[in-house]
Amino acid sequence: MSSRLPAGIVGAIFSAMLLAIALLALTQGPMSIDSRACLAGLWQAASGQDITALQAHEQTIVLQLRLPRLVLAILVGALLALAGAAMQGLFRNALADPGITGVATGAALGAICCLALAPIAIAKWLTPIAAFWGGLLSTLLVYRLARSQQGTAIAVLLLAGIAISAFGGAVIGFLSYMADDRVLRDISLWQMGSLAGGNLYLIACCVGALLLTAYVLQRKASCLNALALGEAQARHLGLDVERDKLLLIIVAATAVGVSVAAAGIIGFVGLVVPHLVRMLTGPNHHSLLPLSALLGALLLTCADFLARYLASPAELPVGLVTALVGGPFFFMLLLRQRRHLGAIA
């Protein structure tokens, strides 16, 4: 219990590590470009001064390939970790995953319908939009199913999420079966997650989503702390539990929807990161939320760095790397937590 570290120190360490890995991701890659020239190239693009000896194609690699990838990794990592922390607070279960309300499957369903049914040219820009709306609509559907006059039972929310995921999985299976080889390939690759598709529009959406999510969740940090005591207690403390639950679900669904739209399905980040932070600094959401965002960004950037090197000269989808590392970690957590896991109420 007393092995917790102060939040400020952990935050500073995470920030420093994030900066270090960001610099590494920008300057290292299969193409060896001089590190200082890379950074000078960034400065050149930002300020317009022509100070580097970078060739045009190296400039393109740094600015249009490495930089968007890094920015997207940071944004998506932070979004997924925040959504995970919110869902774990809402379900009062440290093993809840941000996709638990069916948002990941809904987003996948939207994107896959688009990939399978729309022509290539349209599918390119329509897929992220379809993914986002799929995620949001499926979350609202799950919420609607779980809501009753007595309020929204968490258990029913969970089961409704599972039901929606099962149905979505069946439709995705059907579309995969009817697809030709090219579409099947696209569907598989999309489901494995990739940070390579970062264009300005998607990055801007992620920035907006991150600002919104971080602001709303931080304001609701006290609420999340109170919910940990149980809904009845939270209500007695004066919180409007139903409204807060809806807000948390919508915000988490938006965060996950935007992440999935930008980068496909990347699992385990939202599950493992809040848990790690909780082990380090305790469950107080005032510190848990920002630290989760930092650690999520850090871990996803590391995973993406690995994904670029492991299968050279091809690239592994980053979702595979997070699953390979996160899967065993999740099992370990489950084994340790077995005696703490009671009824989900």
Partner: protein, 275 residues
């Protein structure tokens, strides 16, 4: 001394004055065509759908629509050959800026388009000698045209997917291109390869059934795997023919033509000896 320098000069010529290109082929059709031009040794990397080289294994650069620019440039290519679906855009931009020649050839659906592809390659690889291949392809196309089947022949192409069962080649597939090359008409009107059952295949009552096989499989092996095919009218009339799958792995390519010639010869022989 003079003789020595002349000798050395001659040796230099003999070993090839042409600088070797470093070619990356990003789709199976391009790989087969570059190899058919005799430039197989200049290929430094292939994609995941191409067949591996016999001798040294080449690095595989992944799926052609998700190319990684940095990894490609680290291999220092001079030419990148693929289809129009190569991507993503920033990768191709980076490659162009690095001075890599990018050749994008649309996948051929007619035999005659192969000649256009060879011409396109000739302009991108100025040191390649394409006259031999062009002549060969022309000759093969002419001989195929002479022996074409009547267009009323209803044919179907079956792709043997192993555990996943048989799939019928619809429009836009290599199997469909082969059928049209032979002059017949494809019964399947849906697009791409569709899963099908033996019952459905028998119900189609095709005049000619082509089935893809491994290189060394014979008709007897095929019938052992799918004994019910022997009940089809085509099989009873000796019109169930195995096709070497490697000839069609890239869709219609230069390796498909000799296979088409062989099939036509076999069919015409049967017609001549038929009672």
């Amino acid at each position: 001394m003079k003789k020595m320098s002349v000798l050395l000069f001659a040796c230099a010529f003999a070993s090839g004055v042409f600088a070797a290109e470093r070619i990356i082929t990003v789709d199976a059709g391009s790989t087969t065509m570059v190899r058919a031009l005799g430039l197989g040794e200049q290929i430094i990397a292939i994609d995941v759908t191409s067949q591996q080289a016999q001798a040294n294994k080449l690095p595989v650069i992944g799926y052609h629509r998700q190319l990684a620019a940095e990894n490609l440039l680290a291999l220092k290519p001079s030419v990148l050959i693929g289809t129009e679906h190569m991507g993503p855009e920033p990768t191709l931009t980076a490659l162009k800026q690095a001075g890599v020649t990018i050749v994008s050839m649309p996948a051929p659906t007619e035999g005659a388009q192969l000649l256009g592809m060879i011409e396109q390659l000739a302009s991108a690889l100025p040191e390649a000698d394409t006259s031999l291949l062009t002549a060969q392809v022309r000759e093969q196309l002419a001989s195929i045209a002479e022996q074409k089947l009547p267009p009323a022949t209803r044919a179907v192409f079956l792709f043997d997917g192993g555990n996943r069962g048989l799939r019928i080649g619809g429009t836009g597939t290599g199997g469909d291109a082969l059928i049209r090359l032979l002059g017949a008409s494809n019964i399947a009107t849906t697009a791409a390869y569709q899963a099908t059952s033996l019952e459905a295949i028998l119900a189609l009552d095709a005049d000619l059934i082509l089935i893809s096989t491994e290189a060394d499989e014979s008709l007897a092996d095929v019938l052992k795997k799918h004994p019910l095919l022997a009940e089809s009218r085509a099989a009873k009339q000796q019109k169930l023919l195995p096709v070497n799958g490697e000839a069609l792995v890239a869709g219609l390519s230069v390796t498909t033509l000799p296979e088409a010639q062989r099939l036509l010869q076999q069919l015409n022989q049967q017609d001549n000896t038929a009672p």
